[in-house]
Amino acid sequence: MIRIALLVAAKDLRIERRSRVLLWQVLPFGAMALVLCGLALGPQHAGHSSAGPGLFYLVMLLVALLVINRSQVIEGSPGTKASVATLGLDPAGVFLGKALALMVELWLMGVVLLAGSVLLLHTALVGTLSALPSVLVTLAALSAAGALYGALSGGGQGPATLLPVLSFPAFAPLLIAGERSFSAALHGGALWQWWVISLVALAAYVALGILLYGVLEES
C-alpha cells in the first residue's frame, strides 16, 4: 500500500512539476486573493486586523479547491482510470498517494501564503512561525479530506461546482480549528486543543479514505 502511495504521489507531483500549473496559475491566484483580502479590509485595518489567520485560511481554502480539482482532473484524463483498473492498484494506496501529493502541494502553497500574510496582513512573524506546525497539520487534514471529496465529486468528470458544495461542510471544522490555533499562536490562548482537533480530523480522514476510496472507484 505504501509503495503504491509513493508511486501515485510521485506521479502526481511529477505532472505538477512538468506542467507548472501550480507555479504559474495557482500561486498567483492565491497571492491575488491575499491582496484582495487586504484591499477588502482597507489600508487602516489591514495592518492591525486580527482577521489575518481567518483570511489566510480562506485563501488556502480557495487554493485547495483549485489544487484538489486539478488532482482529480489528472485522474480523470482518458485512459488513466482504465490503466489503474488494469494494473489492479490497491485503492487505499491510490488514495494515500493522492492525499500525499495534495499535502506536499498545499504545504508549499501554505508556506508561501504565510509569508504573504506576514507581508500584506502584518501578522507577527514570531507568532506566524510558531503557528507553522499547526498550519501544516491542518493542511494535511485538508489534503486527506480533499482527496476523498475530490473522488466523491466525480473524479474530475463531475460538474466543477460540485466539489465546493460537497467539501465546504467537511472543510469548515478544519478551517475553524486551523484559524483558532493560528490566532492562539498570535495572540495567546488554547493552541494545543485546536491542534488536537486537526490531528484527530487528519487521522479520521486518512482512515475513512483508506476504507471508502475503493467503494468510490468501483466500476
Binding site: 466523491l152 460537497l166 461542510p169 471544522p173 475513512l208
Partner: protein, 240 residues
C-alpha cells in the same frame, strides 16, 4: 392486516399527537419561572432537533451503510436513504428556525456563532450537498454509491453536535431533558407533554418518509415506463 392498519393509522395518530402537544404546550402546562411563555418552545424545538439529528439522519446513515454492504445492497435501502435525507433537510431547517425564534428574545440575536448552532448548520449543508450529489449523477448505481459514502462521512458530524455543548461550553444550553446523572430535569405534565411531542414528531417523520418513498417508487416506475415506451418507438422507427 396489521401492516395495513398501522399504515392507515400513522397519519391520524400523528395529527392527534401533534394537536395534543399544541394544546398541552400552549394552554395546559404552566409557564416557566425564568423565561415565562417563551420556554414553551421546549415542547417543539428539542423534539424537532431529535428527529433532525438522530431519527432522520440516523435512518439515512443506517440505510446508506446497508447499501454499501454488498449483502444488503438494494434499490429499497437506497430510496430510504435518499428520502430520509430529504426529510432530514426539512427538520434541520425547522430546528434552526425554532432555535432562532427562541434565541432572539433569550440571547438578543437571531443567530450566534455558537458551537451547537454552527455544527447543526454544517450538518444542514452536508444534507443539501448530499441532495446536490444525487442530482449530479445520472447513473443510478453510481448515484447511490456516492450518496451512501457522503451520508456516512456526514454522520461524523452528529456526535460532534451532540457533545458540542459539553466540549466548547458556548451560548447554547446543555441537555434539556436529562441531568448529567441521567435524572429528569422536567416533571409532571411538562414531562408528559414533552414525551408526546417527541413521539408525535417522530411519527411525523415516518409519515413523511413513507409518503416520500411512495412518490420515489412512482417516479422510478414512470421513468422505467417512459424508457420502455421510447425503446418501443425507436424499434418501430427502425422497422419503417
Amino acid at each position: 392486516m396489521i401492516r395495513q392498519l398501522s399504515q392507515r393509522l400513522l397519519g391520524p395518530v400523528t395529527l392527534v399527537l401533534l394537536v395534543l402537544t399544541l394544546w398541552l404546550g400552549l394552554w395546559v402546562t404552566p409557564s416557566f419561572e425564568v423565561q415565562g411563555n417563551l420556554a414553551r418552545l421546549v415542547y417543539v424545538h428539542p423534539a424537532i432537533a431529535w428527529v433532525a439529528l438522530y431519527v432522520s439522519f440516523g435512518t439515512a446513515t443506517i440505510a446508506s451503510a446497508l447499501y454499501l454492504w454488498r449483502r444488503t445492497r438494494s434499490a429499497v435501502v437506497d430510496r430510504v436513504a435518499h428520502c430520509a435525507m430529504e426529510v432530514s433537510v426539512v427538520f434541520i431547517i425547522l430546528t434552526l428556525i425554532t432555535g432562532s425564534i427562541w434565541g432572539r428574545p433569550a440571547w438578543g440575536v437571531w443567530w450566534a456563532w455558537d458551537a451547537r448552532l454552527t455544527s447543526t448548520a454544517i450538518l444542514g449543508v452536508f444534507a443539501l450537498a448530499y441532495l446536490a450529489l444525487r442530482r449530479a449523477n445520472d447513473d443510478p448505481e453510481l448515484r447511490a454509491r456516492r450518496g451512501a459514502v457522503l451520508a456516512l462521512l456526514a454522520a461524523i458530524n452528529v456526535p460532534i453536535i451532540h457533545f458540542s455543548v459539553q466540549w466548547w461550553k458556548t451560548l447554547h444550553q446543555g441537555a434539556t431533558v436529562f441531568t448529567p446523572d441521567h435524572g429528569l430535569k422536567i416533571h409532571g405534565i411538562q414531562a408528559w407533554t414533552l414525551l408526546i411531542s417527541f413521539i408525535g414528531f417522530t411519527l411525523l417523520f415516518f409519515w413523511l418518509l413513507r409518503a416520500r418513498y411512495r412518490l420515489e417508487v412512482l417516479r422510478d416506475e414512470r421513468y422505467a415506463a417512459s424508457l420502455e415506451e421510447a425503446l418501443v418507438q425507436r424499434r418501430r422507427e427502425g422497422v419503417r
